[in-house]
Amino acid sequence: MTDFQMISQALGMVFTVSNILTIFIGLVIGMVIGCIPGLSVTLGIILMLPLTYTFENADTAIILLLAVYVGGMYGGSISAITLNTPGTNSAIATTFDGYPLAKKGKVKKALDTSLFASTFGGLFSAILLLLCASPITKLVAGFTSVEYFSMGILGISLIAGVSGDSLAKGIISGCLGLLMACIGMDAVTGVTRYGFGLDILKYGIDMLPAMIALIALTQVADKLREFKLSDGHLDDANKIDNEGLTGKEIKSIMPATLYSSVIASIIGAMPGVGGGVAQFMCYNEARRISKQPQNFGKGCLEGIAAAESSNNAVVGSAMIPLLTLGIPGDGVTALLLGAFILHGIQPGPTMFTKQGPMAYSIIIGCLIANILLYPIGKVLTRAVAKIVQVKYTLLAPCIIMFCFAGAYAATGNTKELILTVVILWLSYLLNLLKIDNTPLMLGMILESIMEANFVTAMMSYDRDVTVFVRRPISAVILIITVVLVVSMMKLNKKIEALNAQQEKEMAAEHAAADAAAAEG
């Protein structure tokens, strides 16, 4: 089947009433979760994941999760603009200009700019994904189990290298996840590993309860702690006016939007660098090429456009390594990889040969989600913005209930509930020790794929471990792993320093502006 035939078939699969409704629901849920400070896109995806178990089509399930991702990226800007508190990490740069503009009473203009740029960035990267996916998979079509195992090492090493403050901690976290996933019955030999005579460990640790504990429950518990420590104080949000974005203003923000979309798409496609990094780089670049760089940080539309187009552009481009190579670029795509596996889809080159129409239906679904974001955002932003003011004590119990119901739904066994709380305590310990739990989660997700490929490779090459360095492509992947980890660590350190400087400068500028306003 040619790519064109697969795309035609995928179009028929995506354009159904139920799929469009699914995208709509996903976008709204993503916007709601994204706009609540402290709740991330990952939490939204985790909450939705158990619900997708009942879906007949796996591609519909993935499209729903992608719609949550797209909606969440835009939703993060709503609280960034109205409250000066980014809903997600990827919306930090949006506060630099979004909030000052909101303080001037132009909330609607700021939100419209954010929506336009988000839609543009998202569409740009989704089209890039559609165009690049097939050629990349053809390039790596000759991969065998040896190369797939090496790709698994590449994926975990990259995430470990850029997570937290130390590479050693990142590797510990990744190995811990891989080791935890080893618990239970070995699929090849039938031997139970590390069961310790406990029934709950006999069949291993399911991926979903682990993801729920590591990401969702950890976030909610942390947010409840903040609520308790601040005595439930909520910041006042700026009211939304009626003055939207004009055609002339759209024209003025186009260069920044386009430039940021291109940069963020390139950055997002690199495994190990996420939206958080892209936004600052794009913001700086937009400021550099702007005709009025002095306006940045004072409510400049170009600044909002640069930040928002970048974080939505990352959504599509981050899917490129995931769909074509099976390597997640960051925590969100790691979670999506888990969702793929839970739904019986194996991302990577074979996906386009064995499940081609499904692969394209996911890509087209992502494209449609970005198209629908604009009208849905136009109509619902005002309503969604009100949720920022909902007390967290109303939301937290519902989220925790959903988490446990979802964990239980994984297998329908109460052992999942016990495993969830045990992993929650582990997550608390890791947070205390400043060990990022993203590599752990990825290790748990990738272990079964890596082990299956490892066993196949070992059996094919008479248990010769050196095959991983003897086969040229595998050796190249392992060399690339070392080179990329070192260079990504350096790049991230540089960008972190740049971000810190940028945030400091912006905070100082905002403080000065507030002081001047108070005096006036």
Partner: protein, 157 residues
């Protein structure tokens, strides 16, 4: 002692290293070798690689901390950690409660304690939470066809 510093490099190395050693020494009893050779690699091979990875990195962290004095120190403030520990304890009790009392009853009891602890005194929020528990229970039962744990004696669970 209400506040103390945690040397995260050193303690990560010690805790994770101790865990890796425990897994290493229990491997013989916990990962039995198959009775016959199927040609597949030993089921101990990959866990050994992962344990070795943890051990090497733990040693690196300890050396970085003690020899090269490289550290990332975090402050354990009891006043800030107390609410977190209390909330995680309540979540733990919630999981046990779901198994023993069922989803709805456990949700109503535990979240009433959570809300009270967070300073909520108005009855409306308690009613909303109880209604949400019942709503989620029926949502999973009738929409997603997943029966969450019931009260063992009254609901036939």
């Amino acid at each position: 002692m209400k506040k103390f510093n945690i040397k995260t490099y050193l303690w990560s190395g010690i805790i994770m290293g101790a865990f890796a050693l425990f897994m290493f020494f229990t491997m013989e009893s916990q990962v039995r070798l198959p009775a016959y050779d199927s040609g597949a690699p030993s089921p101990r091979l990959l866990p050994t690689i992962f344990i070795t990875g943890i051990l090497i990195c733990s040693a690196i962290l300890i050396i970085q901390s003690l020899v090269f004095k490289k550290e990332n120190i975090t402050v354990f403030d009891w006043e800030k950690e107390k609410p977190m520990l209390f909330i995680i304890t309540l979540i733990t009790l919630y999981a046990i409660g779901i198994i023993m009392l069922g989803f709805v009853v456990a949700s109503i009891i535990i979240f009433a304690i959570v809300l009270w602890y967070c300073g909520e005194r108005k009855p409306g929020i308690y009613i909303f939470t109880a209604a949400a528990a019942i709503g989620i229970y029926y949502l999973f039962k009738y929409v997603f066809y997943i029966s969450l744990p019931d009260v063992p004696f009254f609901m036939g669970g």
